[in-house]
């Protein structure tokens, strides 16, 4: 049987009283710590390129991003990043390391279905929407800028 609206509403109330709440405070704190840690590491890498290797910010910036992407991919390959993600939540998902994880994890997962139908086809199943909407947003912002400020 499928519940009618009234039955569904009554049941929903029961479920709400019995569902353990997400530990929001703890999750937020952990996300702050993990996200902060990745940022700290990124800052350290940036300093390494600017201070030690004497690179300008134009070179050091992209190089730092690339290094962090490598770190995210590396931790995913070691099987550690999913555990960091479970503990750190959004703090692990939001930095660029999380983006790397979202591409490397399906690539690893679907290796067994082959290079074409597996790895390359599934690689962007999670990151794909991010890339699509980020690109669209960039276009929209550029159009607004063009209209307001002119070329």
């Amino acid at each position: 049987m499928k519940a009618n609206q009234r039955q569904a509403a009554v049941f929903k109330k029961l479920v709400q009283t019995r569902t353990p709440p997400r530990p929001i405070l703890r999750n937020t704190l952990q996300a702050f710590l993990v996200g902060g840690m990745f940022s700290l590491v990124g800052e350290g890498v940036m300093k390494l390129y600017t201070v030690v290797l004497q690179l300008g910010p134009k070179d050091a910036g992209p190089l730092t991003s690339a290094s962090m992407i490598f770190l995210g991919a590396f931790l995913t390959a070691l099987g550690v990043y999913d555990k960091i993600g479970q503990w750190g939540g959004m703090g692990a998902a939001l930095p660029i390391t999380g983006f790397a994880n979202s591409i490397v994890s399906p690539a690893m997962e679907f290796k067994r279905e082959g290079l074409v139908l597996g790895v390359s086809a599934k690689m962007f199943t999670i990151a794909g929407p991010v890339i699509v909407y980020a690109s669209l947003t960039a276009v929209a912002v550029a159009v607004v800028k063009l209209l307001l400020k002119g070329g």
């Binding site: 049987m1 569904a8 479970q86 939540g89 067994r112």
Partner: protein, 340 residues
């Protein structure tokens, strides 16, 4: 005709078949849980030396059926029907094991309720005189389920407290006419119940109404009270679904609390990070075949009601905004000397 029907939806088995052997094989995480000592085999890793998790699941199911047959001292040729199912698309674990067993095969899909569904069907086949021995097997695997239903296993996503952990394991049962062992005496086949729950991360709430409905129907049809059972055990409602079932049945006039437990809660310790508990086709299969059956054999339990619970959705139906239908099948298993 139809003299073996009891009430609206229950059948009673006039010549109850016996559970002559069971086998329970689990993965490493289940092997660290509180029921570890009751499983026949605890695998060291989740790949079992295979190249893919799917192959590993198939191997586990194969090993479980082999072991159950060996314990029952039967050969595959003695089996009249092989009933099996799992969670993979097109139930490939069951199909591929059936390919090797090469006996008349019925593939079943009841999601995580498949063990109870198969026990009920197998018992009816034997009681009806259509079979002498029936082999049953069900399996699930955490990693095959994750990649099919959710995300890649290495993806760093946070699981909510309502989510469950799919049990890696396989269970097998041999039912036989006139054999030695606990008897399957009553079967209540469940109806699909959908209370409009839509969160695939909370299957306990989606399945609880179906469990409550089937347990209520079973008690109504048989005229039994919850206290007539030493244990009423649901499949994989977890820490969220179990109390909801309890509340629903209290409202309907049955207090299950003293005898009620859930395989999903029993299989893992709270510190194993399984959140709401275990789930999957193997969950009730290994807890029943490994732990509960040994308790019946040792005399601790005389009469047990196994209520397999299943969430009958697919990732496609969930993505298209459909609610999650639930189902539950109840099978009464009793020590041989109770039934006279």
């Amino acid at each position: 005709m139809a003299q073996k029907r009891l009430g609206k939806e229950t059948v009673f088995l006039a010549n109850p078949p016996a559970i002559v052997a069971t086998a329970a094989i689990v993965g490493p995480m289940e092997g660290k849980g509180p029921l570890a000592e009751y499983f026949d085999v605890v695998e060291e890793d989740t790949l079992l030396g295979e190249k893919t998790w799917e192959k590993a699941e198939i191997k586990m199911l194969q090993e479980a059926t082999d072991l159950a047959l060996k314990k029952a001292e039967l050969k595959t040729g003695d089996i009249d029907f092989f009933l099996a199912g799992d969670l993979l698309n097109q139930i490939i674990a069951a199909n591929f094991v059936a390919r090797k067993i090469s006996r008349p095969y019925l593939g079943l899909y009841g999601a995580c309720s498949t063990m109870a569904e198969a026990l009920g069907l197998g018992a009816m086949l034997i009681d009806g005189g259509f079979a002498r021995q029936v082999l049953i097997g069900t399996s699930s695997h955490h990693d095959t389920a994750e990649r099919q239903f959710r995300y890649p296993t290495e993806f760093g996503v946070q699981r909510p407290p309502t989510s469950t952990w799919t049990v890696t394991g396989a269970g097998a049962v041999v039912l036989a006419e006139g054999g030695h062992g606990p008897l399957v005496t009553h079967v209540t086949i469940g109806k699909v119940v959908d209370m409009d729950q839509k969160d695939p991360n909370d299957m306990g709430s989606a399945m609880a109404p179906a469990a409550a409905e089937t347990i209520w129907q079973h008690l109504q049809d048989t005229g039994r009270r919850p206290s007539d059972y030493d244990l009423i055990v649901t499949g994989d409602l977890g820490r969220v679904g179990k109390p909801i079932t309890d509340v629903l049945l209290k409202k309907a006039g049955y207090d299950l609390t003293p005898v009620y437990n859930d395989c999903g809660i029993m299989i893992y310790d709270t510190n194993q990070d399984a959140h709401s508990g275990g789930s999957g086709t193997a969950c009730s299969a290994v807890v029943f075949g490994g732990y509960i059956l040994r308790q019946i054999l040792s005399g601790r339990y005389r009469r047990v009601l196994l209520v397999g619970t299943g969430a009958l959705y697919s990732p496609t139906s969930a993505q298209q905004g459909e609610s999650i239908p639930g189902i539950a099948h109840a099978v009464a298993v009793e020590a041989a000397d109770v039934v006279d």
